[in-house]
């Protein structure tokens, strides 16, 4: 069967990268004694695929992975088996059974939503103006690792809220298709905010229907 697991990645786990997270899930599923399906070949690997790499330092409320099992289990059984096998900073929020023949998870993803908390005081009106400017602009040419690209079309939504204590929070939805992925820190950069004074959380991954 093909099971889809939605999970959180918080606390210390923010500093575990994509490949290490993959390894972490392999071990967790072995601890849970799930009947993992393995790839063929000299070094058989369990068939686990994680939807989208989460940049180091970000937390997430909604990461998604697909895993293939050799036996049919109920989603409740999978949840129960995994419950005590995970480090405390990963919590499973949903397990569903999905169609075996669907394309690979990575190819189904369209965009991702983020919440950005600013940890240092920032002048609210300034920020608001910069956000408007960004949204008004036709293009936002940027360079990343020697490549030039336009950030603007990757920003699908960009809003801000201020709480009673004057703390600001940004909400953004960025395109996350293969070859066209918007990165929250690039948006922060465009807004003149130092990423080191923020806490970024991915709140949702949006997939093709």
């Amino acid at each position: 069967m093909r099971a889809r697991i939605t999970f959180t990645k918080q606390g210390a786990l923010r500093y575990t990268g994509h490949l290490d997270l993959h390894r972490l899930w392999e071990r967790a599923m072995r601890r849970a004694e799930l009947p993992l399906a393995y790839s063929q070949g000299f070094h058989p690997q369990p068939k686990i695929s994680i939807a989208a790499a989460l940049p180091l330092g970000f937390s997430s409320r909604a990461e998604v992975l697909d895993v293939r099992l050799n036996e049919e289990l109920s989603t409740q059984e999978i949840t129960d088996k995994l419950k005590n096998s995970l480090p405390k900073d990963i919590q499973i929020t949903q397990v569903e059974s999905v169609e075996e023949r669907l394309p690979a998870l990575q190819t189904l993803i369209l965009s991702a939503e983020y919440e950005v908390h600013l940890t240092e005081p920032v002048e609210g009106s300034d920020l608001k103006r910069k956000i408007e400017e960004t949204k008004q602009s036709e293009t936002l040419p940027r360079e990343r690792r020697g490549k030039f690209y336009d950030l603007r079309p990757l920003i699908e939504r960009l809003e801000m809220e201020t709480d009673a204590n004057g703390k600001h929070c940004l909400f953004m939805t960025l395109t996350a298709r293969e070859g066209a992925t918007g990165r929250p820190e690039e948006v922060l950069n465009a807004l003149g905010i130092e990423p080191e004074y923020t806490r970024v959380e991915r709140t949702k991954l949006i997939f093709k229907e």
Partner: protein
């Protein structure tokens, strides 16, 4: 003092700027996080190298579990931050903290360092400094934690005597509880319960240290004084307080306690991602160069059932894909065949790779590896240590060439393409002929291998340099000189590197020198260590952080000659800096063994014949109270016959 919350806030600002930030955040499965305010005594265990290496250390894991099983104490962990992280921590004023609670190390009652190898000494100083704790014991007061250390290097604690409050000599499983009990008694914590402020306003640090000195196996260096002879050697080291014993004898456990089952599962890749189960402690082979073999006696084995059950449970609780069955000499485990059968049966079809290190050079070893269905890609490791008959007799590791050739030929013919052979150069009285013998043996191994398995066969010769260690029969001998080592290494390189099928690795002479200064030094070395550290020496085991200059300048500043520690044959009547510390193997036994080595006499496995090393009389009561199969010493009728050897005097 910063709170854990303040530390975490500061960490979030810097962690994305360092390599592998996952080293510094904890949160691993199987780590134990207790409520800080509800536990009386706080212990931090430190492995003074980076997380990637330290996190899988089994010794600290045992102690961590021992303490966390108590309701009245908690144990947490800390490691040496890598240089990038250290720089940022200093810049942002973040003290070194423990991974579980993020509490500064300075808030703990007790900090326990493990010092398995000497090149960690500067890191230990650096860690104390990073934690905001005075580096020297003498500068600490009632507001600071008690700093203890243990591990194999503690068999000569003197070079670190100025920095460590108390050393635990020998095995730590029981003594750690004694130490915690004393701390609780003196600090008045024992009777107090939940909720209250448990830390008394004052306690007398010196009194606490005196109480620690009364615990068998605990060495408190500040209660001893060393005097020196005119030639610079030690005259004597004697206690200056009646509470401190003249000689500190190591502690052992009568029976190996149940092995740890819940290994920490790191959230990032580290050096060893594996379950380790110790199948046996100690070794009866008596190789004269081997410190571990001398200081971990007697041999105690776990039962096959206990090992297999523990391995199963630990593999389930970690999900690790590798299992290591640990001992100094797997082939000597009494039920090795039964163990290997039971392991392969229990883990059949479970995609687990099993590591069985230190196998004897004989075809039976290949059968064992076959049964474990190991990938043949990993190579097969054997350790002849020397290649000429004369040398093998001297070091008491006697394996005839034919045995080696037959075994390696068999390994190649059974499908392994790579064999690793470990040798040492710099053994006592070694000549270039003995080194040439290593070359000749390697060539024969490859030639014979090609006959049975063709041109694909490969050989990796790992040739390290011997350092004579304290508490061994070779403690009297000098280290080989830098020039000799270089000449011997040049010979190996010239002749072995021609063959593309042979890979050669070796130890830099500078590394061996540092190791020998630190392992053979006396109390005066402490100042050298301190000065070298202030001049930037740290991570001395790491190539990229080498600071040879710092060490040489430090020797010079303190008017000490490095060669005094390394290149001097020690007089037969010399008092060693470690004379007042014993692993229960008598000096007279070691000396007799040293004399036999000079005569090329070998000693058989001491399971077969007791050579009266001193273990049995020292621990006679312990053995009597714990009868059974556990100890592998032969039965000795009389209370161990006393060996009386007159130690010859200078010039003999």
């Amino acid at each position: 003092m910063l709170t854990p919350e303040q530390i975490e806030t500061k960490l979030d600002r810097i962690l994305l700027k360092v390599q592998k930030p996952g080293r510094y955040v904890g949160g691993e499965l199987n780590s134990t996080v207790k409520e800080w305010d509800k536990v009386q005594t706080k212990v931090a265990f430190v492995f003074p190298d980076i997380y990637d290496i330290g996190v899988s250390n089994v010794g600290l894991k045992i102690l961590y579990d021992q303490i966390n099983q108590r309701e009245d104490a908690l144990a947490e962990r800390a490691y040496a931050p890598w240089v990038d992280m250290e720089a940022l921590m200093r810049e942002h004023g973040i003290p070194l903290y423990a991974l579980e609670s993020k509490q500064p190390l300075a808030c703990f009652d007790l900090i326990g360092f493990t010092l398995p190898y000497e090149t960690l000494y500067t890191n230990a100083l650096n860690i104390l400094d990073l934690a905001g704790i005075p580096v020297r014991s003498a500068d600490r007061d009632e507001t600071h934690p008690i700093i203890i250390a243990g591990g194999h290097s503690a068999t000569n604690p003197e070079p670190m005597h100025a920095f460590i409050d108390a050393f635990a000599i020998g095995e730590g499983e029981e003594v750690i509880h004694d130490i915690v009990d004393v701390i609780q008694r003196v600090k008045g914590q024992r009777s107090k319960v939940n909720g209250e402020d448990l830390r008394p306003s004052t306690f007398d640090r010196n009194y606490l240290l005196l109480e620690l000195a009364k615990i068998p196996g605990v060495y408190v260096p500040s209660f001893y004084e060393t005097t020196y002879l005119d030639d610079g050697t030690v005259a004597q080291t004697i206690p200056i307080r009646p509470e401190a014993p003249k000689v500190v004898n190591k502690r052992i456990v009568a029976k190996l306690p149940p092995p740890p089952l819940k290994f920490i599962v790191p959230n990032i890749e580290v050096v060893h991602n594996r379950v380790s189960v110790e199948i046996m402690r100690g070794c009866t082979r008596g190789c004269r160069f081997c410190q571990a073999g001398m200081i971990t006696r007697p041999v105690r084995e776990r039962s096959v059932q206990e090992v297999v059950d523990a391995a199963d449970e630990a593999v389930r609780s970690t999900g690790f894909e590798e299992l290591a069955l640990m001992s100094l000499s797997s082939s000597d485990y009494t039920y090795i065949n039964e163990l290997v059968d039971a392991i392969s049966k229990r883990f059949e079809g479970r995609k687990l790779s099993v590591n069985l290190p230190s196998l004897r050079i004989e075809s039976v070893s290949i059968d064992l590896m076959d049964k474990l269905k190991q990938h043949r890609t990993g190579g097969f490791t054997l350790a002849p240590e020397a290649a000429s008959e004369r040398m093998r007799r001297i070091i008491n590791k006697f394996i005839p060439d034919e045995e080696i050739i037959n075994t390696t030929r068999d390994i190649y013919s059974r499908g392994w393409t790579t064999i690793k052979l470990y040798f040492m150069i710099g053994h006592p009285s070694e000549t270039l002929d003995d080194v040439q013998a290593i070359v000749d043996l390697c060539r024969r191994v490859i030639d014979e291998g090609r006959k049975v398995a063709g041109w694909k066969v490969k050989l990796h010769a790992g040739v390290s340099t011997f350092v004579p260690k304290p508490q061994t029969p070779f403690q009297w001998v000098a280290c080989d000189t830098r020039e000799n080592i270089l000449e011997k290494q040049a010979l190996l390189k010239r002749q072995l590197l021609k063959d593309k099928s042979i890979k050669l690795s070796w130890t830099k002479p500078e590394d061996s020198l540092l190791e020998s200064w630190l392992s053979r030094g006396d109390r005066r070395m402490a100042e050298v260590i301190y000065t070298a550290w202030t001049k930037g020496a740290k991570f001395d085991a790491w190539d990229e952080e080498k600071k040879q200059e710092a060490w040489l300048t430090a020797f010079e500043e303190h008017g000490l000659d490095p060669a005094f520690y390394t290149h001097r044959q020690r007089r037969t009547d010399e008092i060693f800096p470690w004379e007042h510390i014993t692993a229960a193997v008598r000096k007279s036994f070691l000396f007799q063994d040293f004399r036999q080595s000079l005569e090329g006499q070998i000693r058989v496995d001491c399971r077969l014949n007791c050579f009266a090393c001193g273990i049995l009389p020292t621990f006679a009561n312990l053995r009597r109270e714990n009868p059974g199969e556990g100890w592998k010493c032969p039965d000795v009728k009389s209370p161990a016959q006393k060996i009386n050897i007159e130690l010859p005097v200078v010039g003999d």
